[in-house]
Symmetry: C2
């Protein structure tokens, strides 16, 4: 057999195998951790509608943009945003080099484990903590620190790695959308550089599809070696009205599907819903105190109040974690 014939035969066999696997995948339920309730039905109906050739609702693949909030939508966010655990651990790790923190707030409170004292320092205190832990280093140094932390630090309540507290139904949803030609993006109030080091491994979302709150950056040569330095200034607060702004700046086209869990995601949903044609806007509702947490209108973290009303008024699916999800974590 000639080499060419071999090559053709091999690619033929690969194709047959791929076709068989594809039809098997088609037959299997792509969302096994979702109960067969209204939200799952809405998702599947939407995806079938916008991907069906010849349908009036068909959306060309390049326009199939889906955006996901991160905290509370793709992973848990209680008792506080996971990035704040990073801040706390980082302050402790850096403390020996900063003896002045022993008497300076909110560092002193944090080092004593007095979270009320930290909270009392308000937004200005938070900004100081973020500046100390997220700026004044190169992007590569920050990436290394985050990567080390995320692969070792454990959640105080569950004892799991934080990346083990991602929602299995949402992982399936990401995969399902991508299998249907969607490009999936994170659009989060969390730090863009904090999420990128692990979003590809955990969510299958590459760095260039992560949108988040962003700090200033500065290019410089250090001993002839180019570095990018993180500055203690906010360039984008990717929350509330900042989410459509982040979407426009980074993606440049309007999503046709958006997934959130709090009032901080409402403007993203409004912006998505206001485009022409079929749209899917969905909120995850944290109502499962047993398997996760239960909170909404009164919560300090991930408050869902106006969003709940607007979802009801506009007929957007609201996922009850308790009744609509067969499984929470992988």
């Amino acid at each position: 057999m000639s080499r060419n014939t071999w090559t053709s035969l091999r690619s033929l066999l690969v194709s047959i195998a791929a076709a068989v696997l594809a039809s098997a995948a088609f037959a299997a339920d792509p969302l096994p951790s979702w109960n067969d309730t209204a939200p799952k039905q809405a998702i599947v109906q939407f995806v079938e509608k916008v991907t069906k050739e010849g349908s009036a609702d068909l959306v060309p693949a390049p326009q199939r943009i889906a955006t996901f909030d991160n905290d509370g939508t793709l992973w848990s966010e209680q008792p506080m945003y996971f990035q704040l655990f990073y801040v706390a651990d980082r302050v402790k790790a850096l403390a020996p080099k900063h003896p002045e923190w022993k008497t300076r707030e909110p560092f002193a409170s944090l080092l004593r484990g007095d979270m009320k004292g930290v909270a009392a320092a308000g937004e200005k205190g938070l900004a100081a903590l973020l500046a100390a832990t997220h700026a004044g280093m190169t992007t590569e140094e920050f990436e290394r620190a985050v990567t080390k932390w995320i692969t070792t630090a454990k959640h105080p309540k569950t004892g799991k790695l934080f990346t083990e507290m991602v929602y299995q139904p949402m992982l399936e949803l990401l995969t399902y959308l991508r299998a249907n030609g969607f490009k999936t993006f994170i659009v989060s109030g969390g730090g863009i550089e904090f999420m990128r080091p692990w979003a590809e491994r955990v969510y299958g979302i590459p760095p260039e599809q992560v949108v988040g709150s962003s700090g200033g950056l500065k290019y410089e040569l250090r001993g002839g070696k180019p570095v990018i330095v993180k500055l203690p200034e906010l360039v984008l607060n990717d929350d509330k009205g900042g989410k459509p702004v982040g979407i426009q700046r980074h993606i440049g086209r309007r999503p046709i599907a958006a997934f959130g869990n709090s009032d901080g995601d409402l403007q993203m949903q409004q912006w998505t819903a206001a485009g022409g044609g079929s749209r899917l806007c969905l909120f995850v509702h944290h109502d499962d105190a047993q398997r996760e947490w239960a909170y909404d209108r009164q919560s300090k973290i991930g408050k869902l109040d106006r969003g709940l009303d607007e979802a009801k008024a506009k007929g957007w699916p609201v996922v009850s974690m308790k009744t609509d999800w067969a499984k929470i974590y992988p």
Copy 2:
């Protein structure tokens, strides 16, 4: 024949056709408008090296990021950046609504066609022109205006549409890289919102892979309808040291190949070259007064001076448009 058998047979035939076409594409020269000189050889060697399975230089597909400057690298930039023709046309179109421009500089000079007078107003004058033509409207209004202009306005010297003044060899290079698993990005000093409306059609580069100078944006509800308004402030000057910053902010990983034509691209090349493993940094040198323009160290637009020296010192390919390109425009 059962429906299943039909389906399998059809997908088999499609696969065979695809395999035949793929091998035909492989056999044909992917860069026919490039003469067989050093730059083309450097490009092909680089691509083969980073894509060869089992090679020590193999770069996994998701990391195959290639960045392209736009003005002077993908399309012409003389006698002035094409976006400035848009500014001039726009000022003329808006002038009836702004009688005060008749006596206010640099609007008055521009409306009289006195470009020296415009230049005399310096950066502050340019900022005023940009604010008047690029801000104070919604992103959708701006997109419509750019789309209308780009499909009708003609270059004063060539009489071509501006999008007909893109470089055929670079179009082939974009396609060749994408066929080899690269993700191609624009990283330009030009306005991000100015390029996005046509970059996908002309270059095959979708909006989310366009990085450029960016203005402030603001989300608001107008009569219940969400809009994003363009503000007269600069959020990113995506030139020189701003290019690695734009790359980090929008892409979040370092390119392995970068293509530019001026000193404004030098920092992008430095940042790209300083990563580990195989890298390709290339400058396009405008030395073809006959078919395009000839300019470098002394030019006010697209000055290539330090870049030429650094390319020589580091062995980066420099494309002579005159001798290395068989064709300039499509």
